[in-house]
């Protein structure tokens, strides 16, 4: 089996999950496709550096993909204005328009990009807050405040926001 075939045999079973991981981080399918394409090339070129054998491939590949996605996000966020203090609080008017029930992804994708990114990196990719700060090139305090704010918004959207709603989850 050639190197290319070995790589593809390991990559292919992960492809669907990787695509959705990129989609979750970047917020749309087109960018996710581009990021996954770039990440596969990066991974293939570094394939000889993979340590831990085939069993380590999924986590290694996902790390490369997440790095690729956060690089894209960093560039993208440079053109998004710095958040204003009021952005750190719940967007009460927005929440009125949101469905009271719905699945988790629907709730997460409806967040502003800055909030969605930290939520996905934290809860889907299990990244530490310090890692998220470094990956997105933002202060640790900003990661904390965005997560805090995002969780408050999501709590209501997911019906986990109060004892009277908890039964509906």
């Amino acid at each position: 089996m050639t190197l290319e075939e070995r790589f593809f045999a390991l990559y292919k079973p992960e492809q669907n999950r990787l695509f959705r991981t990129a989609w979750a981080i970047l917020g749309n399918e087109a960018d996710a496709g581009d990021a996954l394409q770039e990440a596969t090339i990066r991974a293939y070129r570094a394939f000889h550096q993979l340590k831990g054998g085939e069993v380590a491939f999924p986590a290694w590949m996902r790390r490369i993909l997440v790095n690729t996605c956060t690089q894209i996000l960093r560039k993208r966020m440079k053109v998004i204005p710095v958040e204003r203090p009021e952005d750190l609080h719940e967007h009460g008017s927005t929440e009125i328009d949101l469905p009271m029930e719905g699945d988790v992804w629907d709730a997460v994708r409806s967040l502003d990009e800055r909030y969605r990114a930290v939520v996905v990196l934290r809860f889907l990719n299990d990244m530490q807050l310090e890692e998220i700060a470094a990956a997105l090139d933002i202060p640790l305090g900003t990661v904390k405040s965005r997560l805090h704010s995002a969780l408050k918004q999501l709590r209501n959207r997911l019906h986990a926001g109060g004892t009277e709603r908890r039964g509906a989850v």
Partner: protein, 263 residues
């Protein structure tokens, strides 16, 4: 500590990102403050819901077939595996064809252009005669001789001279979608350089500029040969080609050139 500050730190607390002292302070507060303890429980519940929900969503994912196909193709191209390893059966045929083409293509540009229009052989010839510069306006949809099937060709040999350097428009061909202009610049000491953007030709018709799709350039001694693909224009149109300046080996430049012709 104030409740507001405690609640703001709950995310970091639950992520295990606090120092032992900060952690102890929060735990002490939570043991005495019912409101913050309730908030912490809700945060934890939301976090767990998010983790499970997002991971389930990812596990149920399907990569769209067009993206999967693009990735596979891209990977094969990037693998750099030589074509003779991918299609070993072609080795004999290709080796023979290559030997003949290599001589023909290297010595005669007309043969190179004609061969380049032939399916399969065109691709092989293009590989053998890989140009020194290859500029594509849209790299995702490269335009090359292999895709070009001319239905009309006009031999021109019109020239424009700047000092001792001569631009010659050799031939213009048209297919349904593209117009190909083959031209060369000859002059002592001319060098091609590496900057694709500085050599982009401009073509204008009576209706305005004609969009460039790609161009290639190759140097042979003191002659630089170009093949440019533009959007198709109707037969018989009056066209003007402008070719940017070229550098000289010993410094200085020649050009730009401008020449008018009818396709």
């Amino acid at each position: 500590m104030q409740c507001e500050q405690i609640q703001r730190d709950l995310v970091a607390y639950q992520a295990g990102s606090l120092s032992p002292q900060e952690r102890a302070a929060i735990e002490a507060h939570l043991s005495t403050c019912e409101a913050c303890a309730e908030e912490a429980a809700l945060m934890k519940e939301t976090s767990e819901l998010l983790t499970k929900g997002l991971k389930d969503w990812v596990d149920q994912g399907v990569c769209p077939p067009d993206i999967a196909e693009r990735i596979e193709l891209n990977l094969r191209e990037a693998s750099g595996r030589p074509w003779w390893q991918r299609w070993p059966a072609l080795v004999g045929v290709v080796a023979t064809v290559a030997a003949v083409f290599l001589v023909a293509v290297a010595t005669n540009p007309d043969i190179a252009h004609k061969v380049a229009s032939v399916p399969l052989l065109g691709a092989i010839a293009a590989q053998l005669a890989s140009p020194e510069l290859d500029f594509q306006v849209d790299p995702q949809k490269p335009v090359s001789a292999a895709l070009f099937k001319p239905t009309r060709t006009v031999d021109l040999n019109v020239t424009a001279v700047q000092e001792d350097a001569t631009l010659t428009v050799v031939r213009v061909s048209t297919d349904e979608k593209l117009l190909r202009v083959q031209y060369s610049v000859a002059g002592e000491g001319l060098v091609l350089g590496k900057d694709e953007l500085s050599l982009i030709p401009r073509l204008t018709s009576p209706d305005g500029p004609v969009a460039l799709q790609s161009y290639t350039a190759d140097q042979k001694d003191d002659e630089i040969r170009f093949v440019a693909y533009f959007d198709a224009v109707p037969a018989g149109a009056s066209l003007t080609l402008t070719v940017p300046s070229l550098e000289l080996r010993d410094g200085g430049t020649r050009g730009p050139w401008q020449v008018a012709f009818t396709n």
